[in-house]
C-alpha cells in the first residue's frame, strides 16, 4: 500500500480542544474516498493536515511513500467548502491566476478552462465576475480551479453543500471523469446518499477519531447485521410477530414495508419461511446491506445531520434553485 495516501495516527489540538485524536485511514490511488462525519468531527482539519496547510502535533501523512511536507504543491488539488475565490475577479482571469501559481502555462490554462466551462455548461461566464454567479456556478469554478494543474489527488471539503440537483449531477459526472483519468478523489460530506453513489471507500470520523474505515462493502459487512425489507398482508404493516424473532429488530416502519435489522449469523430467509408458515401473503421480501446512514448511526450513535442542519441544507438548496 505504499502508493496509497496514508494518514497515520495524526493528532491536532487547538488550545484545549482536541480536533484530531490519533486519526488514521488509507486511500488507495485512483479511488473515490468519502470522509464522513458531523460538523466539528475533524474532517476539515484532517484535510488541511493532508494538504500541509496545518501541521499535525503528532503522526504523519504520506503519499506514495513520501512525506506530505516534502511533496510538490501541485500533487494536490483543493476545493474548500466555500468562498475560496476572489469575488470581484473575473472567472477566466481568476482561473488563469490559480493555474499560473501551479506552473501551468497561460495557453494550456486557457484551453482547459474553455473545455471545463463547456463541460459545466457555462462557457459564457469566462468574463463574468465571480460575485455575479450563483452558489452552484461558483462551486463549479472552484472545482475547475482545483484541477487545472492536473493534480494526482483531489481533496474537496463538502463539495455538494448547497447545490441544486442539476449541479450535483454535473459535479458527480466531473468526479467520475477525474476518476477515469486515474486521479484519487477525497471528499468530506454528511450526505450519505452521495457517498453511497460515488464512494468506493470511506472513513467515519467522530470527535477527532476515525471510528471505522475501509472499502464500502467491507464496512457494511463489518457491522455484523443485514437489512431485510418485508411486506405482508397477514398482520397489516404491523407484523408484530417479527419482533418476537430472536435477534431481529424493526428499524423502520414505512408506509408499505417494514425494515428489519438481522444479525449476520442468522439466515434472513428464515424470516420469509416464518411468514409463509404463518400463511401470510408476502408481497415484498428484500435482503440488503445496511445503509451508510445506519452504519453511521451504529458507530457514532446519532445521525450525521441533525434536523436543524437538514432544514438549513434544504433551505439552501431551495435558495440555490
Amino acid at each position: 500500500m505504499t502508493l496509497s495516501l496514508v494518514v497515520d495516527s495524526i493528532t491536532k489540538r487547538f488550545g484545549n480542544v482536541v480536533a484530531l485524536d490519533g486519526a488514521s485511514f488509507t486511500v488507495a490511488p485512483g479511488r473515490i474516498f468519502g470522509l464522513l462525519g458531523a460538523n466539528g468531527a475533524g474532517k476539515t482539519t484532517s484535510m488541511r493536515i493532508v494538504l500541509d496547510i496545518l501541521r499535525a502535533d503528532s503522526g504523519r501523512v504520506t503519499w506514495q511513500g513520501i512525506d506530505n511536507t516534502s511533496l510538490p504543491r501541485r500533487t494536490w488539488g483543493y476545493l474548500p467548502e466555500e468562498r475560496g475565490l476572489y469575488p470581484k475577479m473575473k472567472v477566466g482571469e481568476q482561473l488563469r491566476f490559480f493555474a499560473a501559481l501551479y506552473g501551468v502555462t497561460d495557453a494550456d490554462a486557457r484551453a482547459e478552462i474553455e473545455d471545463w466551462l463547456e463541460r459545466f455548461r457555462i462557457p459564457d461566464y469566462v468574463d463574468r465576475r465571480v460575485e455575479e454567479l450563483s452558489k452552484g456556478n461558483q462551486q463549479k469554478i472552484q472545482f475547475i480551479a482545483a484541477i487545472l494543474h492536473d493534480p494526482d489527488v483531489l481533496i474537496m471539503d463538502e463539495p455538494f453543500t448547497g447545490l441544486d440537483p442539476v449541479n450535483v449531477r454535473l459535479l458527480k459526472e466531473a468526479f467520475l471523469e477525474m476518476k477515469s483519468r486515474g486521479k484519487t478523489l477525497i471528499f468530506s460530506t454528511h450526505q450519505m446518499e452521495t457517498v453511497e453513489e460515488l464512494c468506493e471507500a470511506i472513513a467515519i470520523v467522530d470527535r477527532g477519531r476515525v471510528v471505522v474505515s475501509g472499502g464500502v462493502r467491507e464496512v457494511r459487512r463489518a457491522i455484523g447485521r443485514q437489512v431485510v425489507r418485508l411486506t405482508t398482508d397477514g398482520d397489516g404493516n404491523g407484523a408484530s410477530w417479527v419482533e418476537e424473532l430472536p435477534g431481529v429488530q424493526v428499524t423502520a416502519r414505512r408506509a408499505d414495508y417494514l425494515e428489519l435489522s438481522v444479525p449476520a449469523d442468522r439466515d434472513p430467509t428464515s424470516i420469509l419461511r416464518t411468514a409463509m408458515e404463518r400463511g401470510d401473503r408476502v408481497t415484498l421480501f428484500e435482503i440488503a446491506d445496511p445503509s451508510l446512514e445506519e452504519i453511521f448511526i451504529a458507530h457514532v450513535g446519532r445521525r450525521a445531520v441533525d434536523e436543524s442542519e437538514e432544514h438549513l441544507a434544504t433551505t439552501g438548496k431551495e435558495a440555490a434553485r
Binding site: 496547510i53 504543491r73 483543493y78 467548502e81 475560496g84 475565490l85 490559480f98 501559481l101
Partner: protein
C-alpha cells in the same frame, strides 16, 4: 523551500491589477492629483487675486525726540523678515512690505478696519517718558507682521532709553554690533553652506512625510488585503498553490507598485502644475517668482530618496501583512495594524527632529 519566482510575480501582478482597477483607487488618485495640481498653482492664483499683496503698515508718531526714524527701523525689520534685507528692493515689483507715516490716527484706524492697511502702529510716550506702542491689527501672537513690528518697537525703545541715559547713536551702534561668531562643524567634510542646508532640509522633510504617508496608506492596504483573503477561504486555495513567503513578498510588491503608481500620478500632476504656472503667471499678469520654488537637487539625491522609501516601505508593509494575518475579519484589520503604525510614527518623529539638524553627525542613519 522553493524559489520565490515566478509565483511572486503572479501574486504581485494580481494584487497590482486588482488595486489599480478598483474604483476607490482611481477616484482617490484623481482627487489627489487635482489637489496637487491646485497646490502648485495656488501661489500664482493667490498672487493674481491679490491675497499675496505686500504688507502695508501705517505709523502714527505722537512721541517727540525719537532717537531714530521709526519708519526706516520698521521697514528694515520687515525686510529682514521677508527677503533677507537685500539692499535694492524695488518694493512695488517684489512685493516687499511698505511702511507709511500717517498723521491722522482715526483715519488710519478706519483704513485698517476696511483692509487698506494691514496694521496701524501708534508711538507715544507714557508718564515716565518711556516709549509706548499700540498695535492695531491681527491679534494672533504668531502673526508675522505683529512679530516684526514688535521686534522693531523693542529696538526703537532700547535706542531711546540709551539716548536718554546719555549714550549717543554711534555708541549705541557699537553696543549692538554683532560679535565675531564662528560656527565650526564637528565633521568638516559634512559642513553645508546655506544652499546645501536648504536642500537637505527640504529633502529630509519630503522623505519623512512621503514615506510615512506611503507606509500608513499602503501598509493598511496590505493588512486589509491579507485579512480579506483570510476571511474567505481564498487563503486556503493560495497556500495550497504557493508558499507563504511567495504570497507575502508578492503582496507587498504588488501593493507597493500600486502605491508608487499613485505617487507617480501625483508627481506628474506636480510637474504639470509647475510647468503650467509659468504661462499662467503670464496670462494672469503676475510675477513668475510667485510660483512655488523648488530646491536644486541632484539625481543622486533622488536615487537615495527612492532607496530609503523602498526599504522603509518593504520593512513596514511586512509588519502590516503580519498584522493582517492575525485577524479573521476584514473589520479587525485596521485595529490589528494599529501597533504596526506606532513604529513608523516613532521613526518619523525621530527623523523629523533629525531633519532640523542635518549637519549633525550620523543624521543620515536609519531610521
Amino acid at each position: 523551500m522553493s524559489g520565490l519566482f515566478p509565483n511572486v510575480y503572479h501574486v504581485a501582478r494580481r494584487e497590482y491589477m486588482t488595486r489599480v482597477r478598483g474604483r476607490a483607487f482611481v477616484i482617490t488618485s484623481a482627487l489627489l492629483a487635482l489637489a496637487v495640481l491646485a497646490l502648485m498653482l495656488l501661489p500664482t492664483v493667490l498672487s493674481a487675486i491679490g491675497v499675496a499683496d505686500p504688507v502695508e503698515v501705517a505709523v502714527v508718531v505722537e512721541a517727540e525726540d525719537l532717537p531714530a526714524d521709526p519708519i526706516i527701523l520698521l521697514q528694515t525689520a520687515m525686510l529682514v523678515g521677508t527677503d533677507g534685507g537685500s539692499e535694492d528692493p524695488p518694493a512695488e515689483d517684489r512685493g516687499a512690505p511698505r511702511v507709511e507715516r500717517v498723521d491722522e490716527a482715526e483715519e488710519a484706524a478706519d483704513a485698517v478696519r476696511e483692509g487698506d492697511y494691514d496694521a496701524l502702529l501708534t508711538i507715544t510716550r507714557d508718564g515716565d517718558g518711556d516709549l509706548a506702542f499700540e498695535f492695531l491689527g491681527s491679534a494672533s501672537p504668531t502673526n508675522e507682521t505683529r512679530l516684526q513690528v514688535t521686534q522693531a518697537a523693542v529696538g526703537l525703545a532700547s535706542l531711546d532709553r540709551l539716548e536718554r541715559a546719555g549714550v549717543n547713536q554711534a555708541e549705541a551702534a557699537e553696543i549692538f554690533a554683532p560679535p565675531t561668531f564662528t560656527a565650526v562643524p564637528i565633521d568638516p567634510e559634512d559642513a553645508r553652506n546655506q544652499e546645501d542646508f536648504f536642500g537637505a532640509f527640504i529633502l529630509s522633510y519630503a522623505v519623512v512625510i512621503l514615506t510615512f504617508m506611503a507606509i500608513l496608506t499602503y501598509g493598511n492596504w496590505v493588512a486589509q488585503s491579507v485579512a480579506e483573503e483570510k476571511s474567505g477561504r481564498v487563503m486556503e486555495m493560495l497556500i495550497t498553490a504557493a508558499t507563504p513567503r511567495q504570497l507575502l513578498v508578492g503582496k507587498v510588491l504588488g501593493t507597493g507598485a500600486a502605491g508608487l503608481s499613485q505617487y507617480l500620478a501625483l508627481a506628474v500632476a506636480a510637474i504639470v502644475g509647475y510647468i503650467a504656472s509659468g504661462p499662467i503667471s503670464g496670462v494672469l499678469d503676475v510675477p513668475v517668482e510667485a510660483r512655488i520654488a523648488l530646491p536644486a537637487l541632484g539625481i543622486g539625491t533622488f536615487v537615495a530618496f527612492g532607496l530609503f522609501f523602498l526599504l522603509g516601505f518593504l520593512l513596514y508593509s511586512t509588519l502590516y501583512a503580519a498584522a493582517g494575518s492575525m485577524v479573521s475579519r476584514v473589520e479587525d484589520a485596521q485595529q490589528a495594524a494599529g501597533p504596526s503604525s506606532t513604529w513608523p510614527s516613532a521613526a518619523t518623529s525621530r527623523r523629523s527632529w533629525r531633519s532640523t539638524t542635518p549637519t549633525r553627525p550620523g543624521w543620515r542613519s536609519w531610521p
